[in-house]
Symmetry: D2
């Protein structure tokens, strides 16, 4: 694996000063890069009737997730409504999850902000709160200026200073921005960037990223259950899937089938998951995810405003997507 | 003008409890709705070499803007890099501007956040810091769910509780979301929503909004200098224009020509402004705006990361757009 | 006005051989460039119950249009369903219109095909059938390759050989392609390219095109009634408007108000036209245009398949857009 | 397999009159639905220096393709520049290919036009010229009106009257239109519609189409080599791949590996094909495909205008995409 020596030759801009955290740790870390492979639910955040974080219900969900063979949990991903939480709330939830989570489960915490400096600071707080890795979304407000140059600079600075490994996060449905493939390939060479969660669903792109980073021990995670099997097929090592909040055991089963090469069985299971997954993501979003969680024994509840509860017709549609595929 | 009585019949959801701030003020306010007409620069935020807010340079810019017949200033608009400022910084800048600004100039402060509750809170802080009105951008992260229903609900709650009048803010280039026309028309009936800044540039839409809100004393501001004259032509009352940070006097002159019906002269001036405006907005963004400010005697300086400085080629291109139109 | 001499210096590629038609005519033509200013309906094509062209009904529509002060007619524009007509039908309809049309009315015929060679040939046929000018749409199937270079080459070859003046035609709602502004400016220098019909509705772009072609006697026509007044405001000279098939007299009145500087009256009229126009174009398309024609005394009738008749709900919606603005 | 009896109950609109061709043939055809499985090059059309079809060179290409284990050929697909050919040329090329092609190879001919009536006629001509099946692209000019209702109607009429089986063709990169999934599922029930070529690359959609048509013996073909392996993985039966014009043997090898479940080997080969494929399709288009054909011993040559030859820089880029993956 590449370490600081090689990276210094590659990186576009010297940053000077004190060596970054990962560089100090590199001599001991190089031998064992963090293994991301497996399935993660990007957990939802339950709220009370007054829209405060409901830590009690959160704990109860965590208890149930503890019985499923997940690789770990993602906290403060898009499905956690992180843009609606204050920074304090974001960190508190991570701290709470860390306390409940067995030590052998990986905690990946979202720490991406619009500015580089805020992302650097939140990354440090997340590490201090117990995150094993951070998931850093592409900044996107000034999308016309967020080209490869800006994004490479941003993620490099964040990874340089992060105490824990960084996972890139590409989610164009929310950001209306695609992290350019060339930027991903460049960033894959950074010793403290260990992977990518790609929620875009462009399987050609995922295959090419795997291909062009194959010398880097760079790990790609599918960002949605709809293309999980295809992603395994072209070389991904796992998935961060909203649907795992609801059908976690089934997604771990799909993982097992893919990893063991039982593709025919995998296909049958994968196909039954596409519509429920689309319903709780692209079509009806987080309110639908939380509604479905209720049906499957978890605490979902309402979202913070401006996310609205499902209408009656949407609830029926959601139920139909699960029942027509034999899940309800 | 419509006041609380009519609005109560219109609003989709009762909120109960104590009457909102605007409702308590309505008896005295109804007679004199806030007049937004005129030109506003959405001011840039100067930073020190360490990327901290440079209040000294900000004050110097404000001194110069004081000599131009602006209607007021917009603080914490997109060109102020508000997504890169902490909430404390955002409020401090507003407070600083308020101290420098003559009492007869209007201070419009950006207060839009992703969640409704955060927007409500920041709105209150902005009013307390001296804002005469707030500019509330559409929340956009969960864009698939930000339909008319969600947005009407969001803006209604914010306007219900805001101590100062609310201006809607539609900026699809940044949010990748269009505030639906029907939602604008519905919201125009709220007594505490006085107008819209529309940066999309769809002149047909702007004309139709003016038409469909004509009984509401609802005021539309063009969100960019490129279509300012056309917007006046179809019924807008002013503009919030990035280019006013650079060519403020010229934009006030364009306003004067449009308002006094001197369209031939207006057209000549308008046309010379399109390319410089595109350069500092859509094409090269805030870094170009700040570079151009330097050329015209203001403090622009660097942006916060991840916004990058212009390349040499971009700087040349920017200069060309100003010089070929006779401004440099 | 620029003629062949200047153009030779400008054009990127020599074509060699016999001088093109326009060049031969240039000595006599230069003095009097074709004046496009005014309003044109892009006429619809009536069909019989068997979906054949109904020349009888076409003639009756033409009789009625003859009483309205149009500058001329556009035949085989998008509203004429030209992609659904055979080449023979396209030419026959032009020939029929020419016979009915007074000599002082301009006949502009669509002649754009995907390939350059087919466009050259159809242009010649249209001229022979009596077209005074041709309207040439951007080829768009291989849209990823239709950059400025390809489009400049295409339109140059067509204009080089066309016996009649060429009008460029930008209609991104149908082609999913924008004719680049730089290409328009370059092509404006061709002596046989006299103008542009722009249906995109980007008023900033229209203003800039007027500005950058002002030394070329290049004429811009608004491609839709929704932004006709704004287009006049920034320097357009007329409009090709689907809605003129239905409310032709009103659009000519709007033209008169704009041209004579009566902007206040113009605005009132313009605003009442936006919703009916949107209904017969962007929202409900050609089937709605033809339905509305029936209500206003013209022959509209059915479209060729795969265009479907309006549903009952769509018909009600269409009627509402006209009646709520006082037209029905 | 479903035949006319079931379909009659399903179809939305009676068409009346004489039973369609497929219905008459149905009693004998039902037992043996056309098997589409395998790899097809959508062949390019060579031109002479004067841009006429070069039948000599076409034949020479066909001789070489004859040595590769393709399932058949697609003639008049997007890569054949069909929109630039006259109808006569389109049919003549099909007739020529039929003469050269061994009887056991399948000839699939493009026959989609904008209007239903033109598509019906061209479909009949293609069948008469020797096509075993027709590939019918979505009409797209009036894209705002091409919803599921219109497209179901269109394809149903075409399939009702077609003498040969119909394959649906979804190619959003060219049409800027997605054939809705519900329309595909509905149309899969038509006895004369046997499959879909999907060039969009959305693997979730492909998996879902396979899932929802599994009772219909409906066959999905990947429309591009970039996601061929992933498409096999989720249930596609073959591919129509531009790159097969250049690396046909390698794509047949990839097919063999996928079909025989040798996924590890398949992945290695698939990954080396992504960049060359992107170069000859999305990035540089048909001119690049034809250039690459020259390098690999086929006749490619120039495209018809307005498609432009590659620039020198583009040619270098193209070569790089092949050589960096070990193909040149």
């Amino acid at each position: 694996m590449m370490c600081a020596r090689v990276w210094r030759a590659l990186k576009p801009l010297g940053t000077g000063g004190r060596p970054p955290a990962w560089r100090r740790a590199c001599s001991r870390a190089a031998a064992s890069r963090l293994d991301l492979s497996g399935i993660y639910p990007p957990i939802a955040t339950p709220f009370t009737a007054k829209e405060d974080v409901d830590y009690q219900k959160l704990e109860e969900n965590l208890q149930k997730y503890g019985t499923i063979p997940f690789k770990g949990l993602v906290v403060q991903g898009s499905n956690g409504e992180y843009p609606y939480l204050t920074e304090e709330e974001q960190v508190d939830v991570v701290r709470t999850v860390r306390r409940s989570l067995p030590a052998d489960k990986l905690l990946m915490a979202g720490s991406g902000c619009e500015s580089t400096r805020a992302t650097v600071q939140l990354t440090e707080r997340m590490a201090a709160a117990g995150a094993d890795a951070v998931l850093v979304v592409t900044p996107c407000f000034y999308k016309g200026k967020m080209d490869g140059r800006a994004l490479v600079q941003h993620f490099t600075k964040v990874a340089d200073s992060s105490p824990v490994p960084v996972v890139l996060y590409n989610v164009p449905a929310n950001t209306a921005l695609e992290l350019p493939l060339d930027a991903v390939v460049h960033l894959s060479q950074h010793p403290n960037i260990v992977g990518l969660k790609d929620s875009g669903g462009d399987i050609t792109r995922i295959g090419l990223i795997v291909h062009k980073t194959q010398t880097q021990d760079f790990q790609v995670l599918a960002g949605s259950a709809g293309f999980l099997m295809a992603a395994y097929c072209v070389g991904a090592v796992g998935g961060v899937c909203a649907l795992a909040n609801v059908l976690g055991r089934e997604l771990c089963e799909l993982e097992r089938l893919c990893v063991s090469g039982r593709w025919e069985e995998a296909r049958v299971l994968q196909q039954r998951l596409i519509e429920p997954n689309a319903a709780v993501t692209r079509k009806l979003g987080v309110p639908a995810l939380k509604q479905a969680m209720e049906w499957f024994g978890y605490h979902g509840g309402a979202c913070r405003s401006p996310l609205q509860p499902l209408t009656e017709a949407e609830t029926q549609q959601l139920r139909g997507e699960f029942s027509s595929n034999g899940w309800l």
